[in-house]
């Protein structure tokens, strides 16, 4: 049906006022933090950067937040053989980034970030009201603002710019993204496979895919939809986020993932609130990881 990517949304006016060159193209994590520090210095009433973190945001914290950082280091959640990685430096570095954002007061307060509605507040209030300068978020974000979205905002495409999330030190390929997506599937025990197949064919034909991908701000998986002028013209950020597919990553597709994801959120929450240092939280994650997936499925770096 469609896929998605993640990157940096930024408010052009807020960055300009803070003295950051627009269009903004950060090359490293430090560039991102620098821009946030400039916003903090120039505009006290504005949240410089939002990185979802903690249990309240659930998978958004893990995927839009943590994994966008971790997959820009030399490490990942799993190694090439599919074993879960414990004790990686990338993991601690990513937590360090989260700590910097929250403990240096570059992000929302932990209280704001741990609000169960933070996602709606960011998309529906902070960004449209120019109260947030940089947002590490999904490609679907503009779906909130287009006509028929939950918080229509006609000026969004003039105000908001997009930039790829850079890798930690700018190492190749220079940018990073994560992707999820939606498919239709047929049960192997389906009693009427022909009907199921016909339904899938109808639902995913060009017209219907086009409608869905535009309405949900999704990245099409059909090339004919992707090159359709109605799609590319419907939303100025479609091209940008589609291009990120070339550097994107996927989450480990195993049944243990939700438990690991929860352990990641716990680690993020304890560094953002200052309860633990990144090293301590990473150590606690390693223990939780072994408990969640079994020690035999964990490899230590």
């Amino acid at each position: 049906m469609g896929t998605d990517t993640r990157g940096l949304w930024y408010n052009k006016q807020l960055l300009q006022k803070a003295g950051v060159t627009v269009p903004w193209a950060p090359k490293t994590w430090d560039d991102v933090l620098d821009a946030a520090r400039k916003v903090k210095a120039a505009e006290p009433g504005v949240v410089p950067i939002n990185v979802y973190s903690g249990k309240a945001s659930g998978e958004a914290s893990t995927m839009q937040g943590f994994e966008m950082l971790l997959y820009g280091t030399q490490d990942k959640l799993t190694d090439d053989s599919g074993k879960w990685v414990a004790g990686s430096t990338g993991f601690t570095d990513a937590l360090q980034f989260v700590q910097t954002v929250y403990q240096d007061k570059l992000g929302p307060t932990p209280q704001q970030a741990l609000d169960t509605n933070i996602g709606n507040i960011v998309a529906g209030q902070w960004l449209p009201q120019s109260k947030l300068a940089i947002d590490l978020d999904g490609s679907w974000q503009s779906g909130t603002w287009i006509q028929g979205g939950s918080a229509p905002w006609s000026g969004w495409s003039e105000t908001m710019g997009v930039a790829p999330m850079p890798t930690q030190n700018g190492q190749a390929p220079g940018k990073v993204s994560m992707s999820g997506g939606w498919t239709l599937a047929m049960g192997s025990k389906s009693k009427d496979k022909t009907a199921a197949w016909n339904f899938i064919k109808l639902a995913l034909n060009k017209d219907n895919s086009l409608k869905y991908d535009i309405a949900a701000s999704q990245i099409p998986v059909r090339t004919d939809v992707g090159s359709d002028p109605e799609y590319t013209g419907s939303n100025p950020t479609n091209q940008f986020f589609s291009d990120l597919v070339s550097v994107t990553n996927f989450r480990p597709a195993t049944s243990e993932y939700p438990k690991v994801s929860n352990a990641v959120q716990v680690a993020m929450e304890s560094v953002m609130t200052g309860q633990q240092s990144p090293a301590q939280a990473a150590k606690a994650y390693d223990d939780a990881l072994k408990q969640a997936v079994g020690a035999d499925k964990v490899t230590t770096e």
Binding site: G54, K55, A56, P110, Q111, Q112, L114, D115, T116, N117, T254, S255, E256, P258, K259, N262, V266, E269, S270, T273
Partner: protein
Amino acid sequence: MATATTTTALPQGARGRGRGGPRPRRHPLRTVGRTVPLLPAIVLMAVFLIGPVFASFYGSFTDSALTGSAAQATRFIGFDNYVQLFRNADFLKSVLLTVIFLLGSAVIGQNVLGLALGLLMEHGSRVMRAVVGTFVITSWVLPEIVAAFAAYAFFHADGTLNEILGAIGIHGPNWLYNLPMVAVILANVWRGTAFSMLVYSAALADVPEDVRESAEMDGAGGAKRLVFITLPLIRRSISTNLMLTTLQTLSVFTLIFVMTGGGPGTDSSTLPILAYQQAFKFSQLGLGTAIATILLIVGAVFSVVYLRALKPEVD
């Protein structure tokens, strides 16, 4: 034990009011015949009420899961789920939070406030009764999700409560973050008190006027009349109400899930939130049903305590 709670176990003289002497022996076949019309109801109860309870109880001894290898072939694993739970600090914290939530919002909050409202309304004017009654009951008839969002908006850092506090010069805390249990307990009291108020209003109306008057003649003041006359007379209603509010409160999920999501961290994760997380977020149905079973046991323990303490069956 001398405190048997069933009337049949008591000597004849102590039988409940309104019941006659020993019943004549009936023909056994006739008894069976009279049970037949009850069968459909019994079958329905068994299938839709007892069935799920047993299914959940059995499920708690398996590694049943929504995804992964255990979803294909579920195994019987004995007490593993329970052992895992009792070794988990989060679970023990969750039991404690559930008991705090229960005592704070149901036993103390809803019951005491409900009784107080019932007593006050008994002597209030008709207009007062209508106004107070409407306000209290409104929160009760709201759908749970609406009530939960209303409570979220009320207790939010920039919410109604802090606006009001701000107007009188008090800088309110971030209730949902710094005092999550206080917030959800107050929200549940707000939402549930109407039920207790209705039960107690009805019970108080049944307290015979002559008993009260004669106590007054004997010189018993308001507080004494409440403790020695009114409360003992409405004992059964207290017991029923305690039990119902306890069971309702134990299963509260939406309110907490919407207001705090069980957080921050696990600071307001009561057992239903934990069970949801294990069963549906981590797909471990077996573990989730084990938590549900523990919840059932907590409810049973409280029910037994009420029955023993208030002896509703004894006159």
